[in-house]
């Protein structure tokens, strides 16, 4: 059972995630978009969307640090477990709440604004359920561990296990000991990853960082598709030997 939950499910999910992204990128570049509904409604979106997205970005950073950076490293630079924990819980809760509130606003808007609801697909709804449960479960686990007990140091258990997935020597046993709240959050996350490539969430992978460095105006040559010009007889001279011909 442990192996199924903490080895097979994660690997399956990762394979579907990566494979799905590649496949979607090749099959459906045209469908790869945010599918923004701002044209229909802007006033609520202006609050909900930045709240959610910036919250999620913070949460992402928190997870990267918490899961990928080994505890020994942060301790080596002089951050004690206690201060790390305080910081993580504080920032994590704030970011998590931002995300949650943002998402609540967005979902309410989606349901209540007629045109936006009309443009919502079933796929979107399923995605909201999965994404919502991951966020809620994560927040619940954190809040419960810190409000009822005196915190849970997932960096001793979840993080090493998560890293071990990438060393290809997964260690399911440690996960068995982890509190149920965290277990559920992790499992839900892997479900989300497997679903990710097939939802509008793919737009996260087109975060336009290249914009910061590229020149403002982009020039491109005409597609080298076969032209609409009537074919020339072979003996006819080509009128120019410029870059246009050279490119073909």
């Amino acid at each position: 059972m442990n192996t199924v939950l903490w080895v097979i499910v994660p690997y399956l999910s990762i394979v579907v995630f990566v494979g799905g992204l590649i496949w979607r990128h090749r099959y459906d570049k045209f469908g790869w978009t945010t599918r923004s509904s701002q044209l229909y409604e802007s006033a609520v979106l202006r609050w909900g969307s930045p709240l959610f997205h910036f919250g999620v970005l913070l949460v992402l950073i928190g997870h990267v640090v918490g899961l990928l950076v080994p505890k020994s490293w942060t301790e080596a630079v002089g951050i004690s477990e206690h201060s790390y924990h305080l910081m993580a819980v504080f920032l994590g809760t704030v970011a998590g709440m931002c995300t949650l509130i943002g998402m609540a606003i967005l979902i309410a808007r989606r349901r209540l604004v007629g045109p936006v609801f009309a443009a919502t697909t079933r796929n979107d709804k399923a995605m909201y359920v999965v994404l919502g449960s991951v966020i809620v479960l994560g927040l619940l686990a954190t809040v419960r561990a810190n409000a009822l007990g005196d915190g849970y140091d997932y960096r001793e258990t979840v993080s090493p296990w998560f890293r071990s997935l990438f060393y290809l020597s997964p260690d399911p046993e440690v996960m068995a000991e982890v509190p149920l709240g965290f277990q559920l959050h992790v499992l839900a996350a892997f479900v989300l990853f497997a679903f990710w490539p097939f939802t509008r969430l793919v737009h996260a992978f087109s975060a336009p960082v290249g914009y910061l460095t590229r020149p403002y105006v982009v020039y491109r040559s005409r597609d080298p598709h076969p032209g609409l010009r009537a074919p020339r007889p072979g003996w006819d001279t080509i009128p120019s030997s410029g870059r246009r011909t050279a490119a073909r």
């Binding site: 979607r24 099959y27 459906d28 570049k29 045209f30 469908g31 790869w32 978009t33 945010t34 599918r35 923004s36 509904s37 701002q38 044209l39 229909y40 409604e41 802007s42 979106l45 969307s49 930045p50 997205h53 910036f54 007629g114 045109p115 009309a118 443009a119 796929n123 979107d124 097939f198 939802t199 509008r200 737009h203 087109s206 336009p208 914009y211 910061l212 590229r214 403002y216 105006v217 982009v218 020039y219 491109r220 040559s221 005409r222 597609d223 598709h225 076969p226 032209g227 609409l228 010009r229 009537a230 020339r232 080509i238 009128p239 120019s240 410029g242 870059r243 246009r244 011909t245 073909r248």
Partner: protein, 583 residues
């Protein structure tokens, strides 16, 4: 000097009767799909009026175009790269559907299903956005021909900028129509605003396009374009814009909007320009200098040095020859009668306008003066500050001198030609008073009044030396083909996802031949007899328009009396077939 070629357009506003044929045919060709119901790549707006979308010219609100920074550089008015990225989750300056209009259809079904009753059933308007009943309160040309009167016209941001006196008298004083398409700018701020780099300017002909595969729906371009000529397809979640009908232009025939213009007021041709000079010219300090600055980047295609440089940059010979024959060059540079629309946006627009003289003529005629007399016309151009100031706000960032000069030149042509018409000896002093010769005036008259198809549209075909398939092409940017993303339909990931299918492009060659041909289409020639109404150019009597009635009630295609459906070497079969099949 880096020579580049730009496909450009000039519209002669004196001839626009506001019939919207260009808008309608463009819509049929490009945006006759769900998700873009409100999208008009070509729209015709009444001036004074609010324009489409409403008050788009008010850049203090909509933040389109470029601004000059204190250091003399340009940056998008809506903010530089970092600011754009930070506002990516909710674009603060995106016009909402209400700034355009809520598209609608009518419940025609009700007309058929309503039970018999005392009153005639009506088809009520139903929103295409929410699907509910709605009240129509605005549309793309709601204020057409000053409908709504002063109340609507008062919302005109241009009117707000001219003086109080002008504002009060304006709507009474005159009205004209302004057809607008994407400007295919030399310095496009839509492209600059796109975080994904999906909007690009084609190096060969300067046409600005949106790569549908790269667009991720960030909607920054909508804000970036000061002319609001980028639209967001609310179904596919991608930006769309006027394509300058590139599949047509590539084979040397004019855009749909030009082709169908009943006033024949559009001109298309090439301009050579110095790409290295654009950034500096767009950043000149005074807004009123932008008109001259843009003229200064154009290169004289008759200058041997320019020709040599153009050849070095790989511009083909036939393109250079086309640039030399370009009506655009003549109108902008030789006769100096065309002006750019809102040069103060600093995008270096490439669809220019000949401002209308008709308001001046109308006032003269209405007051009982001889509206063809040079002295009267010149006097009126100088005295009628209202039209001139308004036009200057549109075309020269408020500087009235170039507008006055253009109107005087048009007036001179009018007076000069009148004498010729009446058989009087031409009066060279009229020409001289606007710095032209009689011969130049006559050349200009010919271009403005009687130029034939081939003179109005000088479009060299694109070069693709490896043309193999003429009929089936994957153009990568076209959207509307049967069953494709443009035609609605829901793919696995929501509206319009899925893979491209190649588009069956009309064989435009055949159409071009016919448009240029001076002979009538012969209905007896089976390979050319079928005429498509959309393509029918008005030549010949429409006898061949309908196939002969089939002897049996079979479908016309199958009847033996008709031309064979697939006859090799008759591309027109395809051309005329496709629009009908789409219905």
């Amino acid at each position: 000097m880096r020579v580049m070629a730009q496909m450009a357009m000039v519209m002669n506003l004196d001839k626009c009767i506001g019939c919207h044929t260009c808008s309608v045919t463009c819509k049929q060709a490009w945006t006759n799909r769900s998700g873009v119901e409100y999208v008009w790549f070509n729209n015709v707006e009444t001036r004074p009026g609010q324009g489409y979308p409403r008050t788009y010219q008010d850049q203090a609100t909509w933040q389109g175009g470029w601004v000059r920074t204190r250091r003399g550089r340009l940056k998008p008015r809506s903010g530089g790269r970092i600011k754009r990225l930070l506002s990516i989750f909710a674009n603060p300056k995106l016009p909402s559907i209400r700034d355009y209009y809520e598209p609608w259809t009518y419940e025609y079904e009700h007309l058929l299903t309503a039970p018999a009753g005392e009153h005639t059933p009506v088809a009520r308007p139903r929103s295409l956005i929410s699907g509910r009943d709605m009240t129509i309160t605005w549309s793309a040309n709601w204020d057409d021909s000053l409908a709504g009167g002063n109340e609507t016209a008062a919302g005109d941001p241009i009117l707000a900028r001219v003086s109080e006196r002008v504002r009060q008298e304006y709507a009474k004083a005159f009205m004209f129509f302004l057809p607008r398409i994407c400007e295919h700018c030399l310095n496009p701020s839509c492209a600059a605003a796109c975080p994904s780099g999906a909007i690009y300017k084609r190096a060969e002909d300067g046409i600005v396009l949106v790569d549908q595969d790269r667009c991720r729906g960030w909607r920054m371009c909508v804000t970036g374009c000061p002319y609001k000529k980028i639209y967001f397809n609310h179904r596919t979640g991608k930006a769309e814009k006027c394509t300058f009908c590139f599949p047509r232009v590539e084979i040397g025939i004019p855009t749909v909007c030009s082709e169908t213009c009943v006033g024949r007021l559009r001109y298309i041709g090439l301009m050579l320009y110095d790409a290295d000079a654009v950034a500096r010219a767009a950043a000149v300090e005074n807004e009123t200098d932008l008109y001259e600055a843009q003229r200064s980047v154009f290169l004289d295609p008759h200058d041997p040095a320019v020709v040599a440089e153009a050849q070095r940059s790989g511009i083909p010979e036939d393109w250079i020859a086309a640039a030399q024959r370009s009506p655009i060059w003549d109108l902008i540079m030789r006769y100096e009668v065309a002006l750019p629309l809102h040069p103060e946006y600093r995008t270096m627009p490439m669809v220019w306008y000949i401002p209308p003289l008709s308001p001046v003529v109308d006032v003269l005629r209405d007051t009982g003066h001889d509206a063809e007399d040079a002295g009267n016309l010149f006097g009126a151009v100088d005295a009628l500050r209202i039209p001139v100031e308004y036009l200057a706000q549109l075309f020269t960032a408020g500087d009235t001198a170039p507008v006055t000069a253009v109107l005087r030149r048009l007036a001179a042509m009018r007076a000069y030609q009148r004498r010729i018409n009446l058989g009087e000896p031409p009066d060279e002093s009229i020409a001289a008073s606007v710095g032209m010769t009689g011969e130049q005036i006559q050349d200009m008259y010919r271009l403005l009044a009687i130029a034939k198809y081939d003179e109005r549209y000088v479009i060299p075909a694109a070069h693709a030396e490896t043309a193999q398939g003429l009929e089936e092409l994957a153009t990568g940017c076209s959207l509307d083909y049967e069953g494709g993303p443009g035609m609605g339909g829901t793919g696995p990931f929501g509206e319009s996802s899925g893979r491209y299918a190649p588009i069956a492009v009309e064989n435009f060659r055949a159409l071009a031949d016919r448009q240029r041909g001076e002979t009538f289409v012969d209905p007896a020639d089976p390979s050319r007899a079928r005429i498509n109404l959309l393509n029918w150019d008005g030549k010949g009597r429409p006898a061949g328009l309908f196939p002969p009635r089939p002897p049996s009630p079979r479908r016309p295609e199958e009847s033996p009396g008709n031309p064979p459906k697939e006859s090799p070497g008759s591309p027109e079969e395809k051309a005329s077939g496709s629009p009908e099949e789409k219905q």
